[in-house]
């Protein structure tokens, strides 16, 4: 369930995983299972980007800028 600011939401994970993560917390430097899991997921998700790709118009504007600066041919 998302909180009222829409910044956090709940996800269910198996209890045994939760317990294993909780046991690791003291040595990990994290203070909560949530922050540990968020960190791990961010790292994995860094390989794939969400969000809208650049439009053709975006590409052309940026390329023209780079040409003027002489950074590209």
């Amino acid at each position: 369930m998302r909180d009222k600011d829409n910044k956090f939401t709940s996800v269910s994970i198996p209890t045994f995983l939760f317990d294993r993560i909780k046991a690791r917390l003291p040595e990990s430097g994290f203070t909560s299972v949530g922050s540990y899991v968020a960190y791990v997921l961010r790292d994995i998700l860094a390989d794939k980007r969400e969000g809208e790709p650049l439009t053709k118009d975006d590409q052309e504007k940026i390329k023209e800028r780079l040409r003027v600066l002489g950074y590209i041919d």
Binding site: G29, D43, A46, G51, L69, G70
Partner: protein, 465 residues
């Protein structure tokens, strides 16, 4: 265990140590205060020292082989000749604000290159240079746009433009634009700094870069076009005096527990000339063109067009305006790759100046400098002609090996391998001058929060405690 510390990073694109630390420091009291009361020195940039690669490595602690960000355009292949842009979507490693977000720490990152299109972070992310439009891909969360424009005015500037192309620059308009853009960005920085909750704050100012590239002939007496009588002689110094004032104001807003890093991504060198590397590659039978293209360049200089090269007969080609990126066509070279690269780099190293004198050229092989294995955008070699006092020119059809300008682009200066760096704060000892690497920044920032840097970061933690 993460602590309650705060860190502010003030990035200044291209800040040159020869001027800021050596020549002008006595005229820049706020910068001088940092130097005398903390750690300062030279910071080694990425290879190549191009801003998109360097700022990415600065904030992620990973070299271009890990981040995937080498330059502005993706590598050309026979079946990919359109020149696709490298953008924030291509970054493969986490920035400091991503990592801190995982610990519940809030970050504000303003004017970041590359950040377009932005992704969600725990805090605020505003993209910087090369943002085509102030849309939802430029700012996270986008709901803050009205607040941003209320602070800066309706015409928010990601870059300075409308001052003409490089062959007919209107310098006064450009300089006015740099100040206008910087001032509105400082307004935003100071407002968010005071009014928003944050644990980490980063602002990279990029207006400096365009002044360096276009007006270097007025500051460097060794520049071949040095002009000490011009009204622009003090323009760059005056800009740093302006930044000194803004730095002083910034420092007045930071509390005692906030560590301050002020740093550039690279420095600047005068441009002594350019080597027409693609012409050289054609002459030495590495690069082959389609017949029509080959005929056209007999009569006029043309831009390099990967669509018109003969890929079956091309073993290497190059791109770049400053450092040269050399790409080996593995389809043609095959298993001869290692010997081929050795031979080619030895021949390129031997290219001398027009008067026959030796160049102190440095060549970096991808396999040696990037930790990652081969990826599709990686250049095979990066060439610093005369240790980055000469640039490269990828245009075709020159009469000889040497040119001053290319068909577009700034002529005065290129990026050097060493930038300028300061670190100051209550918990930062007074160490004086040091040499650091751009990859040391992110692990050091994390260490300040009591967070162990992740294993992908290859830099070391600066000795600041």
């Amino acid at each position: 265990m993460p602590n309650k510390k705060k860190v502010f990073v003030f990035g200044i694109d291209g800040m040159p140590p020869e001027f800021i630390l050596d020549k002008w420091l006595d005229e820049l009291p706020a910068f001088k205060y940092l130097a005398e009361n903390g750690i300062f020195g030279r910071i080694a940039s990425t290879i190549p020292p191009t801003s998109i690669a360097a700022w990415t490595s600065f904030f992620t602690g990973c070299n271009p082989g890990e981040t995937g960000i080498y330059h502005y355009i993706k590598r050309y292949y026979k079946n990919r000749t359109n020149g696709e842009l490298i953008t924030a979507d291509d970054i493969r490693t986490n920035a400091v604000w991503d990592i801190l977000g995982g610990y519940g720490k809030k970050s504000i990152a303003l004017n970041i290159l590359p950040a377009y299109p932005v992704k969600p972070i725990n805090g605020i992310l505003l993209s910087g240079a090369l943002t085509p439009d102030f849309n939802e891909k430029a700012l996270y969360p986008y709901s803050l746009k009205k607040e941003v424009l209320d602070i800066t005015g309706p015409d928010y500037m990601f870059e300075v433009s409308d001052f003409g192309k490089y062959r007919d620059l209107n310098y006064d308009k450009m300089i006015e634009g740099v100040y206008k853009m910087s001032e509105m960005q400082f307004d935003l920085v100071f407002n968010f700094l005071k009014n928003k909750a944050w644990d980490f704050f980063a602002y990279t100012l990029t207006g400096s870069d365009i002044l360096h590239h276009t007006l270097w002939r007025y500051v460097d007496p060794k520049h071949i076009n040095f002009d000490s009588n011009s009204k622009y002689v003090n323009t760059i110094k005056d800009f740093y005096k302006y930044l000194d004032g803004r730095l002083k104001k910034l420092m007045s807003f930071l509390d005692g527990d906030t560590a301050l890093l002020v740093s550039s991504d690279h420095g600047m060198n005068r441009l002594d000339g350019r080597i027409n590397l693609n012409d050289w590659l054609i002459k030495n039978k590495y690069l082959a063109l389609n017949e029509g293209y080959a005929n056209e360049i007999k009569n006029e200089i043309k831009k390099f067009d990967p669509k018109r090269i003969d890929w079956e007969k091309t073993s290497a080609f190059s791109t770049g305006a400053y450092e040269a990126m050399v790409f080996v066509n593995r389809e043609v070279v095959g298993s001869r790759y290692d010997d081929f690269c050795k031979k080619l780099s030895s021949e390129i190293s031997a290219i001398s100046k027009k008067d026959g004198s030796k160049m102190n050229t440095k060549i970096f092989h991808a396999s040696e400098i990037y930790k990652n294995s081969y990826d599709e955008n990686m250049p095979d070699m990066i060439v610093y002609f005369d240790d980055l006092y000469w640039g490269t020119n990828s245009d075709l059809g020159h009469n000889d090996l040497y040119s001053w300008a290319n068909l577009v682009g700034a002529d005065d200066a290129l990026h050097s391998a060493q930038g300028t760096f300061f670190m100051h704060g209550k918990n930062i000892k007074k160490r004086g001058a040091v040499k650091v690497d751009i990859l040391d920044i992110a692990p050091t920032i994390l260490d300040m929060y009591g967070i162990e840097p992740n294993k992908k970061m290859s830099g070391k933690i600066i000795d600041y405690k």
